[in-house]
């Protein structure tokens, strides 16, 4: 039971992380109608920036804040220089163009930081474990991730539902031409939305950096998972992305921790471990295929699309 609860927390943590990526992806898709394969690159950049700046400043917190700003700026620069020119083109052109960007960023990181990868160490007070239930110790840092991403999610909700910028974002998602016709600087709005998405991706990357190694290509697998989330949730819907993130995070973690044991009840040890590994990696795609077969537009289809 304790083990189950621990895995449950792991699932929530993965889900919240996916939400940070998926929220940006789905915003960018909903408003600019852009399929952005380079979103995972911004996640990777966030992690690399954090590792570098934390090294320079000797402070995890300072490094993280600088990295967040740097990723947001990189995102906005990317939008102005390149991505802007892809708006209004076919999704296929988006796939081609942003695939090129993904290759570019992987290579750029290899050029700047070298192929070896980096580590980002946590401040010592973050290394402790907390007793969340009697007998169950859980790493403090993972709890911090859950807490901080929840705060970010609430802030995003407030930003989108309660501010003027959020109103423009929502208006842009439902009718872009009309927002432009009403005299809103739509180009600036797009740049800001892309920067926001980049900041969220970079944030996810820097939060995850101390748990994983910071390495080239780290953004790719999680990008695909984030696409799965966006697709399950319904493209363009933040609420859908939130629900789907938790669903995918839990499905993945629970699958990984229980599938081999479950199979072991009726298979041999080695067969169940290899099959279990394969099945649990497939889990989220299976969930997505099932959802799309039942609801071809995802769980929460965005209105007016």
């Amino acid at each position: 039971m304790l083990y189950f609860f621990e895995q449950f927390l792991n699932g929530i943590q993965l889900g919240m992380l996916l939400f940070l990526l998926a929220a940006g992806l789905t915003l960018i898709f909903g408003i600019m109608d852009l399929v952005n394969l380079a979103h995972g690159s911004l996640y990777m950049l966030g992690a690399y920036f954090a590792a570098t700046f934390a090294d320079w400043t000797d402070s995890f917190l300072l490094g993280a804040m600088l990295a967040l700003a740097a990723t947001a700026l990189t995102g906005m620069l990317l939008e102005v220089v390149a991505v802007r020119r892809l708006y209004g083109r076919s999704h296929l052109d988006h796939v081609l163009g942003t695939f090129g960007l993904l290759l570019f960023f992987n290579e750029l990181v290899r050029l700047i930081w070298g192929p070896a990868g980096m580590t980002l160490s946590l401040p010592s007070e973050m290394l402790n474990a907390v007793e969340v239930l009697p007998g169950l110790f859980y790493p403090l840092y993972r709890l911090v991730i859950i807490g901080v991403t929840l705060v970010v999610a609430v802030l995003m909700y407030l930003l989108i539902m309660r501010t003027r910028l959020g109103m423009l974002i929502r208006a842009g998602a439902s009718n872009r031409e009309m927002v432009g016709a009403l005299g809103i600087n739509i180009k600036l709005l797009y740049t800001m939305v892309f920067g926001l998405g980049a900041a969220l991706a970079g944030f996810a990357g820097l939060m995850q950096a101390p748990i994983l190694t910071v390495q080239i290509g780290m953004g790719e697998n999680i990008l695909i998972a984030a696409f799965v989330v966006v697709t399950i949730g319904g493209i363009g819907s933040i609420r859908g992305a939130f629900v789907a993130s938790l669903l995918v995070g839990l499905a993945d973690t629970v699958g990984r921790s229980f599938m081999p044991d479950l199979l072991h009840t009726f298979l041999t040890e080695s067969a169940s471990s290899s099959l279990g590994r394969a099945l649990s990696s497939m889990m989220i795609y299976l969930v997505m295929a099932l959802v799309l077969i039942a609801r071809p537009e995802g769980l929460f289809p965005a209105a007016g699309k």
């Binding site: 390149a82 083109r89 497939m282």
Partner: protein
């Protein structure tokens, strides 16, 4: 009424006026035909290996162009068929069945069956959802391959003997193998041309430009698209069988999602809906990749932005540049 002006048929097989496009295609085919001669004369064995790869991946891109270019079905999981075809050959070889007469039909049938299942489920969705669900299915197959411990799991599996066709044809001879693949490519291009210009192909193309209208005039577009999807899958499965024989090796990396991305790049780069587009694309992409990697260690710094420029500024790929026509 004035008589209809003479124009070269868009698909380029008629012996009409030699437009730049026809000229390029003839030059390309002629060049490919003499590659083994060049390789033998200069002792450049690598050229033969590279061009064999070009020809095989051109077959895969050709099959993708059939559904993506002509059918409007953007499959982001096309590398899965390459993998299925390859694994069919590899697994049977490992189990001691070396005959190509068994291996290849199984490779094609397995890929077709997979395409039937994926197509039947995916074609319910449209647009980005279709892109994503085809990607999801390909990812599943990718992880299945990783889970196949007996056949190498993550590390892949070496194939010690190429498919044997009795005394009929010896695939271990690299020149023979090249011409065999080249022949299959030409047959493939001819087949796609026939399909696209048949009544069946008209329905597929009609459904791409306006599916609702096609349904309204009474065509069950779903069935047509599904059949088209299966044909493309089978063709790509054959390319997978060739690829496994070419590299003497299979591994899950064959169907990594970036491979599917590469195939899309080839088709778009060459020019969608152009009969020779996939070949132009495969040739350009692979030679560019090879050339750049010789030029600099960081070749993707150039290749990546180049793809972006193609996406932004070139409609209809290289074929579109030559004909000055805008691809759809």
């Amino acid at each position: 009424m004035s008589p209809a002006p003479k124009v070269a048929v868009k698909t380029g097989w008629s012996i009409g006026p030699v437009t730049p496009r026809v000229g390029l295609n003839i030059a390309m085919i002629a060049t490919l035909a003499v590659v083994p001669v060049y390789a033998a004369l200069t002792g450049n064995a690598f050229a033969l290996t590279l061009f064999t790869r070009v020809v095989i991946l051109a077959i895969a891109a050709l099959s993708l162009n059939l559904i993506m270019g002509f059918g409007g079905m953007v499959s982001f999981g096309h590398a899965a068929y390459l993998g299925i075809g390859g694994y069919a050959v590899g697994i049977l070889a490992k189990e001691g069945i070396g005959s190509g007469f068994v291996q290849w039909p199984i490779a094609v049938a397995a890929a077709a069956l997979y395409a039937l299942i994926v197509g039947a489920l995916s074609l319910r969705t449209r647009g980005v959802y279709f892109i994503m669900i085809t990607l999801a299915f390909a990812q599943m197959i990718y992880y299945v391959a990783i889970g196949l411990d007996r056949y190498g799991g993550d590390d892949g599996l070496t194939i010690y003997h190429r498919s044997s066709f009795g005394g009929l044809i010896n695939l271990s001879n690299r020149i023979v193998f090249y011409y065999f693949c080249f022949g299959l490519l030409l047959v493939g291009i001819y087949l796609v041309w026939r399909i696209v210009n048949s009544r069946f192909g008209m329905v597929i193309r009609g459904a791409r430009s306006n599916e609702r209208r096609m349904r309204a005039i009474g065509f069950p577009t779903f069935r047509y698209q599904l059949v088209c999807f299966v044909i493309a899958g089978a063709m790509c499965g054959l390319a997978g069988a060739l690829l496994a024989n070419h590299t003497d090796f299979i591994s899950p990396a064959m169907m990594h999602w970036t491979r599917s991305g590469d195939l899309i790049v080839m088709v778009v780069l060459g020019g969608m809906q152009a009969m020779f587009g996939p070949l132009i694309g495969a040739l350009t992409f692979l030679i560019l990749e090879e050339g750049l990697s010789r030029l600099t260690e960081y070749s993707n710094l150039i290749l990546g932005p180049l793809l972006l420029v193609v996406a932004i500024s070139i409609h209809g790929g290289i074929d579109g540049l030559i004909t000055g026509q805008r691809g759809g």
